[in-house]
Amino acid sequence: MSRLSEVFKSGKKILNIYCTAGFPRLDSTLPVMRALQESGADIIELGMPYSDPLADGETIQKSSAVALANGMNMQVLFEQLKNMRQSPSLGGVGEAIPVVLMGYMNPVLQYGFENFCADAANVGVDGLILPDLPQHEFEKTYRAILEKYNLDLIFLVTPETSEERVKKLDSLSSGFLYAVSSSSTTGGEKDFNEVKEYLQRLQSYQLKNPVLVGFGIKDKKTFNDACKYANGAIIGSAYVKIIQQAPSPEVLTKCFIQSILN
């Protein structure tokens, strides 16, 4: 069973935290991931920085630009993640916590899609979120490669996605389904009543995957609200903002995660 399926089996509400690889410093990647794991995050979503991140708001755009300026690229990333699955005492995140890579298609294609999957699987990555991978391209070309390397592929759905398409994307996803809380780029603010209605609609579809809510989740209240109608939620921009100024992101990470979970 994949780590993602395993983590949802407990039934607890899942906290997935996004961080950008190579941010705030080039060598922050693994220390930040370890701090997240130790602080009680359930899933780590690691962003691979891209020069033109269309779906991202200002905070994550900036973190990507900083990471690129720091010298982050795929080779560096996989080198940094080489010992990721070592125990925390040795500097890794351990065997249990799922790690998902999030990024845009172009850098992945330049690395070579299959090479990328092989290297990701090799360091112990569990799944991918590629927002600009079209569904039919996935079915035609990429699904077989992902299956070969046992990587989950997580599709996004939005309040604008039709019932038929939600069901289709759910059937193609594994690990979980990423419910974008509102039609916006990351880091936006939306009225929760509308979000609630949408999440209830998703619940009524009897989807095969657990649902995590992302975009606009930023603190204890928004996390708990989302968890009422989903299996958990994803925090990105709010966390990136917290660590962007930090000389040692590890300390702030603990405070931040505790402020959400306690």
């Binding site: 891209y50 020069s51 033109d52 269309l54 779906a55 708001g57 200002e58 755009q61 630009a65 690129l68 690229n73 795929m74 845009y104 298609m105 172009n106 850098p107 992945v108 294609l109 330049q110 690395y111 927002p131 600009d132 991978l133 079209p134 039919h136 391209e137 599709f155 996004l156 759905v157 939005t158 604008e160 996605t161 039709s162 398409r165 994307l169 974008v180 039609s183 916006s184 780029t185 936006g188």
Partner: protein, 397 residues
């Protein structure tokens, strides 16, 4: 050889290029457009209104002008397609008229656009004023500084110009910001893209709206020479909308040479260039697969050209396919060669071309034609907007 070079397949692919690589947040809007655009543009009401606006508002048809002194110099027969005489000063309005009519028929009330030099922004602001629709134009902060007169024109026409402050603060980033705006306003907004780029169906839709250029060329050339088909058609390519329009009705005529001219900037190997087919690799930019100028890690790089309209790190998927199949011949002209071609046209024919169009004219120095050949060059825009650059050049002399 493929059946047609003009149109993509059902998924929006020209050969291996095109498609719709978009995040789910854009899916509904793009799908709404994809499933409606052909019905709309083939409808009688659309055709009638479009024809009327192109004629009485934009000033079509534009002349096909036999440039006698230029022809004499290059020992061949050169015809200039005078898109520079269109309302707003360039071919861009052909597309914005088409798209505003589509937006109107889809019930959209808020129009967004990206712009580099400001020509597409002006053409969009123009049709929005005409239709009484709200208009928001994203423009790189750097371009806003460089192109003040066009910013003023857009504002006078009632548009809101929003500076794109992300990334390199030029056209690529203005396009990103426009796409992000669309993600954040899924209900009532229509995105008028200015070139044959973006996710399917944009490249096809924009090419169809610009194809009026080659449609007119065929008729006009027949009247002037007895044959609809020239030896060659030449156009500059940034994203490639005037080129798509100029080539369109000749793409499936194998006897006609298709010549695209990219901006070499300070020289193709100088590190300051926008010659995408020479410097780029297949990749994904702004929602479609095409040639993209990028680092080996797949990060998009900033191009350079003296002409803001060619200063784009990608190229439309239609053109990428012409390039890899060999159907199109891709040349490049440097900043210097373009400037010299602009001055040559001014002095020989009394026409000051846009810097973009000057790149197409520069091809005459690179390709040898026979004295009986008929060559058509698209003069995509006029040079008013480039006077500052031209003045700087004059002061050097």
């Amino acid at each position: 050889m493929q059946a047609t070079y003009k149109e993509p397949d059902e998924l929006g692919y020209y050969g291996e290029f095109g498609g719709a690589y978009i995040p789910e947040m854009l899916y509904r809007n793009v799908e709404e457009l994809r499933s409606n655009y052909l019905d709309i543009i083939n409808s009688a009401s659309f055709q009638e209104e479009c024809r009327f606006l192109l004629k009485d508002y934009a000033g079509r048809e534009t002349p096909l002008y036999y440039a006698a002194r230029l022809s004499q110099k290059y020992h061949t027969n050169i015809y200039l397609k005078r898109e520079d005489l269109c309302h707003t000063g360039a071919h861009k309005v052909n597309n914005t008229i088409g798209q505003i009519l589509v937006a109107e028929r889809l019930g959209k009330k808020r129009i967004i656009a990206e712009t580099g030099a400001g020509q597409h922004g002006v053409a969009t602001a123009t049709v929005c004023a005409l239709k009484g629709l709200q208009c928001i134009v994203y423009m790189g902060e750097k371009d806003i500084e460089r192109q003040a007169p066009n910013v003023a024109r857009m504002r006078m026409l009632g548009a809101t110009v929003i500076p794109a402050t992300s990334g390199s603060r030029t056209l690529k980033d203005a396009t990103n910001e426009a796409i992000r705006d669309w993600i954040n306003h899924p209900e009532n907004t229509f995105y008028i893209i200015g070139s044959v780029v973006g996710p399917h169906p944009y490249p096809d839709m924009v090419a169809r709206f610009q194809s009026v250029i080659s449609k007119e060329i065929r008729t006009q050339l027949k009247e002037k020479t007895g044959s609809e088909l020239p030896k060659a058609v030449i156009a500059c390519v940034g994203g490639g909308s005037n080129a798509a329009g100029t080539f369109y009705h000749f793409l499936d005529e194998p006897s006609v040479d298709i010549i695209a001219v990219e901006a070499a900037g300070c020289g193709v190997t100088s590190g300051m260039s926008a010659a995408t087919t020479q410097l780029g690799k297949p990749g994904i930019l702004h929602g479609s697969k095409s040639f993209v100028m990028q680092t080996k890690d797949g990060q998009v790089v900033e191009p350079h050209s003296i002409s803001a309209g060619l200063d784009y790190p990608g190229i439309g998927p239609l053109h990428a396919n012409l390039f890899v199949t060999g159907r199109g011949k891709f040349l490049s002209a440097t900043d210097k060669e373009a400037l010299s071609a602009a001055f040559e046209l001014a002095r020989l024919e009394g026409i000051i071309p846009a810097l973009e169009s000057a790149h197409a004219l520069a091809a005459l120095e690179q390709v040898k034609f026979d004295k009986d050949d008929n060559i058509v060059i698209c003069l995509s825009g006029r040079g008013d907007k480039d006077m500052e650059t031209y003045m700087r050049e004059l002061n050097k002399k």
